[in-house]
Symmetry: C2
Subunit: 312 residues, 2 copies
Amino acid sequence: MRAVTVQDGDLVVEERPDPAPGAGEILVRVRAAGVNGADILQRKGGYPAPPGSPPDIPGLELAGEVIARGPGAERFAEGDRVMAIVGGGGQAQLAVVHERGASPVPEGLDWPEAGGLPEVFTTAHDALFTQAGLKAGERLLVHGGAGGVGTAAIQLGRAAGARVTATVRNDALRGAVSELGARVVAPEGFVEHGPFDVVLELVGAPNLPDDVKALATGGRVAVIGVGAGFKAELNLVALMGKRGRIHGSTLRARPLEEKAAAARLVERHVLPLFDAGAVRVPVAETFALDDAAAAYERFTAGGKLGKIVLLP
Amino acid sequence: MRAVTVQDGDLVVEERPDPAPGAGEILVRVRAAGVNGADILQRKGGYPAPPGSPPDIPGLELAGEVIARGPGAERFAEGDRVMAIVGGGGQAQLAVVHERGASPVPEGLDWPEAGGLPEVFTTAHDALFTQAGLKAGERLLVHGGAGGVGTAAIQLGRAAGARVTATVRNDALRGAVSELGARVVAPEGFVEHGPFDVVLELVGAPNLPDDVKALATGGRVAVIGVGAGFKAELNLVALMGKRGRIHGSTLRARPLEEKAAAARLVERHVLPLFDAGAVRVPVAETFALDDAAAAYERFTAGGKLGKIVLLP
């Protein structure tokens, strides 16, 4: 199979041995694989794949058809359209996935949408609801509202009855983000648009002091992205005064059982929203697998709405 | 009535007009009133009383007998032994308390114990269970284990089936803290005794980086004291890797309905532990109301086990 590989910080697309599914696993012919911030970090050497995942093939999410099943795998049949979060190895023509980590692709979704769905919608759902406990009627602030996780979070928050505000750096994208269901504000001075019950922090440490200032009493900050830095200043008296909480989380390092539990939650609480037309996957641009380097450049450049997706 | 008052940073015990109970309130002849860190802060001008509380009479907790009831107050009868958290005004011969914020004093408790119970046991219970969700079998670290909140938290954690470790600065108190149910360790190098599922932070910002390092996956830090400083450094990547949470909280600023809810929880989940002999209120020393200044000095000096209590 052909696969994107990281070699001394360079992306090289080359032939690799086909993987074989083990017990409980399925072999997927990858049709689409989203690019995520973690891939960029991994390429720089800062975010190694967890044990059990291909160490040098990036890619945390994929969608495709089941073409073989390992011993005991019975959730899906050959030919089924599936999508999944993986610890790595998604950006290749073939990938092995534990069947409990995979979900069926909703009927209305094409391959680029399905390949760009799992990571960002699972991340956003986990952060907003499992961690921060977002409730109907609450005020949600999404930092980086035009990105993959941002667009997912805005739509999920709105579908759950929250009042959503999003910061968007690129003025050209404000209209599109607004159409997803958010009041759009500039990243500077967001505190004055608060208070917020939940803040989804996708940017990083520089925002944290103002995130705490912008919290309502009992508010929660969910930190899931630190591209702009990770060493934050935290005023404990301010946090105590707000009776606030700060959550940190990543999906990638979780054991199979937790990833499977997250996938079940997405199947129950998110995929029906796709069937109902309440949410969608904005795909900014697609690239052939061989053009992975260009896709990563496009991702890093920013100023896009939604996902960059590779099509192996 | 005589009352402790704060005048330009000095404590002056002097005559004040007797307060009168309003609708739903009870008038309590105060028999005992604990001294807390918040009183020390308030004396320094750093922690003003919330609206509706006496602005210049400190004292966040009290125990005594009901001697009069305002219109509609019917939870208690005159002569009942009650204890309560108040927004201020506890350190006086008389205090007015909303009946929903008051609880009956367990039979086996004397006045100093009852007067030193509400603030620290409510604070510890709220932080450990309502906020941090401490569960049986989990590992709890209590910083400042010899203090009022610390001794309450150790006992509550142990009674709930947690495995409790406590840091104690004063070597002379290690044995007594150990008898409350904790493994006692030195404040330096506590990380090596982890990991911990819940860390109760009573000291402040200097501990926070190591608190995060000492967390188990899914661990929670509950910050309720910042005597050693409030400007903390927070490594967001470390927090994300632990999938950790940091809670901040205070009781004092909460509205009546939340204080009342906390009081009900204490009545249901804590007071029965006193009846069963599973927890107690360690009282380090008592002082007459007129000796409030000496009591505050004793509190600030540290090196005590449990509470300093004024006896009006």
